[in-house]
């Protein structure tokens, strides 16, 4: 069967740098980072004080009160982002197209706020019961399920949890479902809300979080910065998008995934290299056709030098013609949602012809001697881009995007 082309027609964002795609993209273009001191009731008890949390979020403008009660923060984020994506795509779902539509969401940890509240009630407050909605709020598939219920999507609906690669796996799966004719359209992306006491304590213990900010590829980098948010894409078969006269933002052309099978936290360069190569092979693209890479770029010592070495191996001399930036320096590392935020940033970069910057850059690292678009966005018409995600657990997922052209 002939493979179908798959295009992006809508995007939705909940993030520390904007509660919709327009604000998110504006702050990226203006290089305004959302990293700041997070909620002091939490940060008082944690060694690191900076994060990219969302200070004000009111889902009641988007979701009915009785439905809201059933959702943890991460599911609320997901539904709000999905509604924006569907609205910008100008798509609605009914009995006919709902069966041919999918929802695939990434999350690393699911409804941890509800889970942690239940622990507080039982262990600290010595209550004998927890809230009756603890299960539906906690379950990691509740974001995807709530989107399907809100939208009337009755085809494949599931959740992928591959730590910090979750959303790229989700978008890649949706892309393949549509390309192969199993579905016609999908809402795909991810959602994460990791600002809870226990979860932040866990990140404190593993010692990869920076004390001040995220400085990807900079010699002075000291680690990652935790973020929260959701990103959702509406993706659909090209013929369907054209038939309904949709505004096409960009095309997804390739997906590659690999496992390091090496170490539970330390990335292996070969796994990253293979994932990038597979994404390009899937897209029928040669390395020298890539213009921009939205890097995994966590700002840890280990990731950034490994990622640059992997890129140099895969792209050879063309590396010096590439622009590579990490938008985690702006929206933080939103874990299972981060690659969805980055997919939206990459889509906008192709659509507007503007390279997203790497914020907070201070000093060149000889191990990361590449064009990282430091501290200011740059106008450049680009045709092909990759977006990298390399997760704890050694799981790698890379998407290939193309500027929309007939």
């Amino acid at each position: 069967m002939k493979q179908r082309r798959v295009v992006i027609t809508g995007t939705g964002i909940v993030s520390a740098i904007g509660m919709n795609t327009n604000d998110f993209w504006k702050n990226i273009v203006e290089c305004r980072s959302g990293i700041d001191v997070y909620d002091p009731t939490l940060s008082d008890q944690i060694r690191f004080k900076h994060g990219a949390d969302i200070k004000q979020f009111d889902a009641s403008a988007f979701i009915e009160k009785n439905e809201l009660d059933m959702m943890d923060r991460f599911a609320q984020f997901a539904v709000v982002a999905a509604k924006e994506a569907a609205s910008t795509a100008g798509i609605s779902f009914n009995e006919e197209n709902g069966n041919r539509s999918a929802v695939i969401c990434g999350t690393s940890i699911g409804g941890v706020h509800a889970q942690e509240n239940s622990y507080v009630e039982l262990y600290r407050e010595n209550k004998s019961r927890v809230h009756p909605f603890t299960i539906p709020r906690t379950m990691p598939n509740s974001a995807a399920s709530n989107i399907s219920m809100q939208m009337g999507i009755t085809g494949p609906v599931y959740t992928i949890s591959t730590a910090c690669a979750s959303s790229n796996h989700a978008i890649g799966n949706a892309f393949w479902l549509i390309r192969n004719g199993i579905c016609d359209q999908a809402i795909a992306g991810g959602s994460e809300t990791p600002f809870t006491y226990v979860f932040l304590k866990a990140w404190e213990a593993i010692r990869v979080v920076a004390p001040d900010t995220c400085r990807p590829f900079s010699k002075t980098r000291q680690g990652m910065i935790i973020g929260e948010g959701a990103g959702m894409l509406v993706i659909e078969a090209l013929e369907n998008a054209q038939a309904r006269g949709a505004n096409i933002l960009a095309e997804i052309v390739g997906f590659g995934m690999t496992s390091d099978a090496c170490h539970i936290t330390k990335p292996d360069q070969k796994g990253a290299e293979r994932a990038m190569r597979l994404a390009m092979e899937d897209a029928n693209l040669a390395p020298d056709e890539i213009d921009y890479i939205n890097a995994h770029g966590t700002g840890t010592l280990v990731n950034d030098s490994m990622e640059v070495a992997a890129i140099r191996t895969v792209f050879g001399p063309h590396t010096n013609s590439l622009s590579i930036s990490s938008t985690k320096s702006l929206h933080g590392h939103a874990l299972g949602a981060t690659s969805a935020l980055e997919a939206v940033a990459t889509t906008m970069a192709l659509h507007h012809g503007i390279l997203p910057p790497t914020a907070n850059f201070e000093e060149k690292d000889e191990d990361c001697d590449i064009d990282i678009v430091p501290n200011a966005s740059r106008k450049k018409d680009i045709r092909h881009a990759l977006s990298n995600a390399f997760a704890f657990g050694g799981l790698n997922a890379v998407l290939a995007f193309k500027k929309w052209e007939e």
């Binding site: 060694r47 213990a205 593993i206 010692r207 979080v209 004390p211 000291q222 680690g223 170490h263 539970i264 936290t265 330390k266 010592l301 280990v302």
Partner: protein, 79 residues
């Protein structure tokens, strides 16, 4: 640096990696003892618990030997 600190580090590594304690000396590197980066983080966390101190992340990155661990701990204890 006290013998107590070295003894505790050796005991923890020996138990963690099932190594004969006699094989661990003050100049041993974590790599030689088979400790990777996560093992080192766990060792430092155990030492922090044991001696009730906090070793900052910036110090942790430079701790790759038993001597450096002992010195980091001594510094954190203000001794």
């Amino acid at each position: 640096m006290s013998d107590l600190i070295f003894e505790k580090i050796a005991e923890l590594i020996s138990s963690k990696k099932s190594l004969n304690k006699e094989l661990i000396n003050i100049e041993s590197s974590f790599e030689d003892l088979g400790l990777d980066s996560l093992d080192a983080i766990e060792l430092i966390a155990d030492l922090e618990d044991e001696f009730n101190v906090t070793i900052p992340n910036t110090e942790l990155q430079g701790i790759k030997t038993v001597r450096q661990a002992a010195e980091g701990l001594t510094k954190a204890m203000g001794a």
